[in-house]
Amino acid sequence: MKKFKILVFAFLITLTAVAQQTPAPKQSGEITLKGGTAHIGNGKVIENSIIFIKDGKITGVYDAQNNTIEPKGEVIDVTSKHIYPGFIAPDTTLGLVEISAVRATEDQDEIGEFNPHIEAIVAYNAESKVVESMRPNGVLLAQTVPQGGTISGTSSVVQLDAWNWEDAVVKRGDGVHLNWPNSFRRGRWWLGEEPGYSPNKSYAEDVTKIKDFINQSSAYTGGDNAIKNLPYASMKSILDGDSNLYIHVDGEKEILDVLRFKTAMNLDHVVLVGAYRAYTIADQVAKANVPVILARVHSLPETEDDDYDISYKMAKILDDAGVLVALGNSGEYWQARNIPFYAGQVTAHGMSFEDALSLITLNTAKILGIDSEMGSLEEGKDATLFVSTGNALEMKGNNVEKAMIKGRDISLETHQTELWKRYMEKYSR
């Protein structure tokens, strides 16, 4: 019998070592988080807070200092701890890639130039070991984005504790991703072109192709079509202003061209992604009312002459100018768990921690169009949040004890924590 138990135990261990963490069940009773420092996500902070959570929603956020409010349901004392809205990682390939060097595990890049009909969500692997590794860092939501081509495809916003991709969907088809051409292009040395970058002679032509595609889509979606054109049809929500056109663009000239393009094409919701040189024309970007999702903050400057800290400080420059800014992940996957530290990095260059927090919570939610339900600790929003013992934007402070997605108490274990525990146990023998 004893032997059997050991066998069962061993079996379980093996199981947990290969499978993903089991998604948490729905919230049952009411929960009160009491005494924690609530970092709202909108720049405000409540040092001694009381937060009510019911049916997966935040039903109240109060300052306990000034109010005497009775806790309801299960009370969790989080005194001296910090509560944050779940961090959002936009511009990732989470769930589309498992091991980037193994082609069989890659699903992010379809062939073809104009692929708005290609949709990331249907390939999203909810059981990825990489996806679960986000959660212990407070990253609970992500945008999963197809790559490559001129129009890469359609992205979706997912929550990171799901049985399958349908279960994971927070917002399906939040937008289409367009890679804007570069007016300066890298020589394809493997084709015998000069190495280094030189002016791209076909830039104007490449831009025209994009305009043509938009015009064609517009003509197509204008009425009924007996014969369906999948790419054109997929542009409908963009043209109707119901979802975002994410334009991945870096150069100053290119960004200005995008702003002109937005007006000329009558596009309501354009988001700049990457936007390396946007800081040089921050006022114009702000005036055009175009939000920005930056590249990884932990990036090197693009040119030898650029300020060493330009990637660290551009978020503040844009924010100061009135641009709605979020921090992105440059299409990466496993690195996305570091997004809290990208926000932390920005604080070294002039921004406060609370404002930096908005760059990975409320601002992101606004840009992705999910801010009515997510992105801040506010009454009526989803209880997608976590508790950390320290400042979650600090490497040494980010220590997530409890995390919820829509009030569901999710597991913070991962393939990695299990290996850690297993070997610590080995050495303690």
């Binding site: 091991i99 932990h298 400057p301 040119t303 030898e304 990695q416 070997y423």
Partner: protein
């Protein structure tokens, strides 16, 4: 055959065959030996750069100079040429070219790398081809010869520009009229080398600059061994190399760091290489001067960038702009340094540009005397041809230039370039000036005609009344020929006139619009022309501008890129007051503590310290720590992997250091002071590390710590080439990796035994390195991922009686931490990298914490230029993942890597007597908000955040200044090149191909 020889472009050839070759039978006529003399009199003779004879005489017979001087006796049988007012100079010598020898085209035989040689009887490496003789592939190239003659060259050294050892070159006289036998001055004139592989073979090794350097080192050792008769078999390459050693040895580089590498090869091989420079020697003049080598310099000054479009201009870096601005001063800098150098037209698109570039260099300070010497006497001396070419003296070849004035003056016309006594007319000296205003009468109609620039590029304007008529002129051989259009409608109607020009007024034949012929007259009314005056006035002004304007050369910085220093920074005495000091020695932070830096060392740590003359820095609320040490870095390198063989123990990363890499500065801005520049992970046995301090702006020698001896090993997917589709190099499995190590160490043992036995042995740089490892004199840092291979390598080492010093990356170190502890190996890992390839599936961010808790000496490294500059944050991640205490975590990036590198007696902590490599942080360095404000190495402030803010502005200002200059250059009509951005390649372990 003869006909072919004379079919030579635009040249007027007045030649004769030199030697009678009297033993050759002649069946097409009688033997016509010419023993007449040609005497040039009344010329200004420039015998050599320092001796000039006014109104001198030069006597030539049989292609050689038989007499030269103020007054020499007039020989019988002489043709006399009066050169009153003209100058004679020795013709120039082109020292470095591939004239007449086509570079072989690269033929690739597929995607799979080829590791074996393709030849038998020659050296094992196909890129070593000293047996190559230039003559074998030589075909006299008339077209290039003409261009060279026009540029003033009379002799050319050529070679086959292919391969690392390229064989022998030869010297050719550009004697258009002569035979091959006449022209060949020296069939084996010099031996050539370069760092570039041959196109004739796909053999992989070497794939890198450090590999090529190592190969050359080994070749010379092998050649000596062979010379001593130690090899039982023939090696035609080594034989040739040895035979070629009595010639000048010319080494082609491609920039100043090649120069320095060649100079150090000179030292090690004891071969005095003549260095073909890159033209950027000015960047590192101190080090170049120290080489004391002779140079052959190109004049390939870049054109200004077209910066009219500000968006495009923004892609051009400050260093590219500076190169445009500063490089024309390069020859002047070498002159100033007193180095011997020849000048070459090599590297220019065409020799036509040569004189223009030379004049440009002279505007930047190159003297006439030096320029002439660098084109005549110095090349002759470098090629050991003194007395034969390069000066006007008895017995020398009659290779000389006839000019209208001092040769380097802009107005001077080069009339003739004589080679071996044969005249090549570049510009007819006898052309009569017919410039002026003429009244032209044709069949009763009168026109005004003005002719200008008749001696150079004739142009004509014809007017009827005030109406200008379309016209064309040719003026050649004393004949004037003008065609003009008299029609006022679209229909064209031409009058053509032709006349000999020696009569006044001009009288000749006119052919009218309808084809009828009549006579015309043209009477010159004035010898100056309105047109000419107008035009030339403008141009003269411009020309004057160009001539008299002293070019503004931007001051050099150290290094000469953005964020360089105005002058080499010096060590300071600095007192940091009231800092929170993390010594790395104590378990607690020292509050309100002073640290005194003096003579490059940490001189005192305590409270209320004072020091006279010290710069006091208030460090209240700030943190002072030792500089960060990155155990695994690939910044500051031209190449990372020598992947041409499964072992490359002979290569040295020091040979690939790029001291101008901006990532050095960025690392300093992140508080990093020391890095281990590691070889990549393309092969199980990599190359020797360069452990270096990031002394921005210093020389490579000052940065690299030569006495710290490490080598990179690598395990796993990279060395078995799993991810780059190559299947023919051993090993392909982890099983093979183990046997590969065993084999190499076994051979090293046997090598050492032989060496110790007293018997002769062939010095093998690869084996020497491995023997050092066996003897604990060089330490192994091994790239590693999974537990099986980590375990394996420790066992191999134990079998051979040494230990592995460090496992780097070591992502599964946590699985064998106990075994690591037992072996005594350190673990230097990533904080949280994983998922990017199969072997990192079980990589966990708790790795460092587990290794550390098991007592393994643990560190955090980068392998990444971006991460390297914030290793403090990566260390902080170990507090999150596994709860390492703050002070211990801090050691992961300071004292522990110092211990791993065996430099903890010098760096890694703040301790009295250690090097003053310290960082002042704005706040707790483990905080994500911390910014390095000052980074010092040996008491020198290499990074200062205030200075950086200033420099960020200055970079923009400097660029603006340079852009203004470039715009001015473009407006002047100077040539520009489109904006471009140089490729900066970030390298990691796996970087195989470097973009050149």
């Amino acid at each position: 055959m003869l006909k072919k020889l004379f079919l030579s472009g635009s040249f007027l050839l007045c030649g004769f065959l030199l030697q009678a070759q009297d033993y050759f039978p002649k069946n097409d006529g009688v033997i016509t030996e010419n023993n007449n003399y040609t005497v040039f009199k009344n010329a200004t003779l420039h015998l050599n750069p320092s001796e000039t004879v006014e109104n001198g005489m030069l006597v030539v017979q049989q292609g050689k100079i038989t007499a030269v001087g103020k007054s020499v006796s007039m020989p019988d049988h002489a043709v006399v040429i009066d050169l009153q007012g003209k100058h004679i100079y020795p013709s120039f010598i082109e020292t470095y070219s591939d004239f007449g020898i086509e570079k072989p085209k690269r033929k690739s035989n597929g995607r799979s790398p080829q590791y074996q040689p393709t030849r038998e009887g020659y050296y094992w490496n196909d890129h070593i081809r000293p047996e190559t003789n230039a003559l074998d592939d030589f075909k006299y190239d008339n077209k290039t010869a003409e261009a060279m003659l026009k540029a003033g060259f009379g002799t050319v050294q050529t070679h086959k520009a292919d391969g690392i050892a390229r064989g022998t070159g030869m010297i050719i006289a550009l004697n258009e009229q002569g035979t091959a036998a006449d022209r060949l001055l020296n069939v084996k004139s010099a031996q050539f080398f370069s760092f570039e592989k041959s196109n004739l073979s796909d053999q992989s090794y070497p794939t890198s600059i450090m590999g090529a350097t190592a190969l050359i080192r080994q070749v010379f050792v092998d050649a000596n061994w062979y010379k001593e008769g130690n090899e039982p078999t023939r090696d035609l390459s080594l034989e040739a190399l040895n035979n070629n050693m009595n010639m000048p040895q010319i080494f082609k580089g491609d920039g100043v760091y090649d120069d320095l590498r060649i100079a150090s090869l000179s030292k090690e091989t004891d071969v005095p290489f003549i260095i073909v420079g890159g033209g950027d020697e000015y960047l590192r003049m101190n080090e170049v001067k120290e080489t004391g080598a002779s140079y052959i310099l190109p004049l390939n000054f870049p054109d200004a960038y077209d910066v009219e479009d500000p968006f495009q201009a923004s892609y051009v870096s400050l260093s590219q702009m500076l190169e445009w601005n500063q490089s024309p001063a390069n020859p002047a800098k070498l002159q100033e340094a007193g180095l011997t150098f020849a000048l070459t037209a090599n590297g220019l698109k065409s020799p036509d540009k040569f004189m223009e570039m030379l004049q440009k260099a002279m505007k930047y300070g190159l003297t006439e005397e030096q320029a002439l010497a660098s084109l005549t006497t110095i090349p002759a001396q470098l090629l050991r041809q003194e007395g034969k070419i390069g000066s006007l003296k008895n017995g020398a070849w009659a290779n000389f230039l006839v000019t209208s004035g001092p040769i380097f003056d802009k107005e001077t016309v080069l009339y003739e370039n004589w080679v071996q006594g044969n005249k090549n007319i570049i510009k007819d000296a006898d052309v009569k000036d017919i410039d002026g205003m003429y009244t032209l009468n044709i069949s009763g109609t009168s026109y005004s005609m003005e002719i200008s620039k008749s001696t150079e590029k004739p142009s004509v304007t014809i007017k009827q009344g005030d109406t200008k008529l379309g016209s064309k002129i040719t003026y050649d051989d004393g004949w004037l020929n003008v065609t003009f259009n008299t029609s006022k409608t679209k229909e064209k109607q031409y009058i053509r006139i032709i006349a000999q020009t020696d009569k006044k007024p001009l009288i000749g034949k006119a052919i009218l619009e309808d084809g009828t012929e009549s006579q015309f007259t043209a009477t010159r009314t004035s010898s100056t022309t309105e047109n000419k005056n107008d035009e030339n006035d403008d141009e003269d002004e411009d020309e004057d501008d160009k001539d008299t304007e002293i070019p503004t050369v931007m001051p050099l910085t150290y290094p000469d890129v953005a964020y360089g220093f105005d002058s080499q920074p010096k060590a300071e005495t600095i007192l940091f007051q009231n800092a929170t000091v993390w010594t790395g020695e104590d378990d607690e932070a020292l509050e309100d503590t002073d640290v005194l830096i003096k003579n490059g060392k940490i001189s005192a740590i305590g409270q209320n310290l004072s020091a006279s003359g010290a710069r006091v820095i208030d460090a209240t609320d700030k943190y002072l720590t030792a500089g960060i040490i990155d155990e695994h870095s690939h910044i500051a390198a031209f190449d990372i992997n020598e992947s041409g063989q499964n072992s490359s123990a002979e290569v040295r990363m020091k040979d690939a250091v790029d001291p101008d890499d901006i990532d050095i500065y960025r690392d300093l801005a992140g508080g990093v002071t020391t890095i281990q520049l590691l070889h990549g992970s393309a092969n199980p046995i990599g190359g020797q590390s360069a452990v270096m301090k990031l002394k921005w702006g210093s020389s490579i020698d000052d940065m690299v710590m030569d006495d710290v001896k490490f080598i990179k090993f690598a395990l796993g997917e990279n060395v078995k080439q799993s991810n780059w589709g190559s299947f023919n190099r051993f090993p392909q499995t982890r099983m093979g990796v183990q046997q590969m190590y065993t084999d190499y160490f076994q051979r090293a043992k046997e090598y050492e035994a032989r060496k110790k036995s007293g018997k002769p042995y062939r010095k093998d740089y690869e084996m020497e390195t491995l023997v050092d490892i066996l003897n604990g004199e060089r330490f192994v840092t091994s790239h590693s991922y999974v537990q099986s291979e980590i375990n394996m390598l420790m066992k191999v080492a134990e079998d051979f009686g040494f230990r592995i010093n460090t496992f780097t990356h070591i992502l599964e170190g946590y699985k064998v931490a106990d075994k690591m502890k037992e072996h005594g190996v350190a673990g230097s890992t990533f904080s949280d990298w994983w998922a990017y390839k199969y072997e990192v599936n079980d990589a966990i961010p708790y790795n460092a914490a587990i290794m550390w808790s098991e007592g393994v000496l643990t560190g955090i490294n980068s392998d990444d230029a971006e991460m390297s500059r914030r290793l403090n944050q990566e260390a902080a991640k170990t507090m999150k993942y596994g709860g390492v205490p703050e002070m211990e975590a801090w050691k992961f990036v300071t004292l522990n890597p110092a211990k791993m590198l065996h430099i903890d007696d010098r760096v890694g902590s703040i301790k009295k007597g250690k090097d003053a490599d310290v960082v002042l942080w704005s706040t707790n360095p483990m905080s994500v908000s911390a910014v390095a404000e000052k980074t010092l190495i040996e008491g020198v402030v290499y990074f200062d955040i205030e200075r950086d803010r200033q420099l960020q502005k200055e970079v923009k200002q400097k660029k603006n200044e340079l852009i203004t200059m470039m715009l001015a250059a473009k407006n002047k009509g100077l040539k520009t090149q489109p904006a471009k951005k140089e490729e900066k390649q970030r390298m990691q372990c796996e970087t195989l191909e470097t973009i050149k």
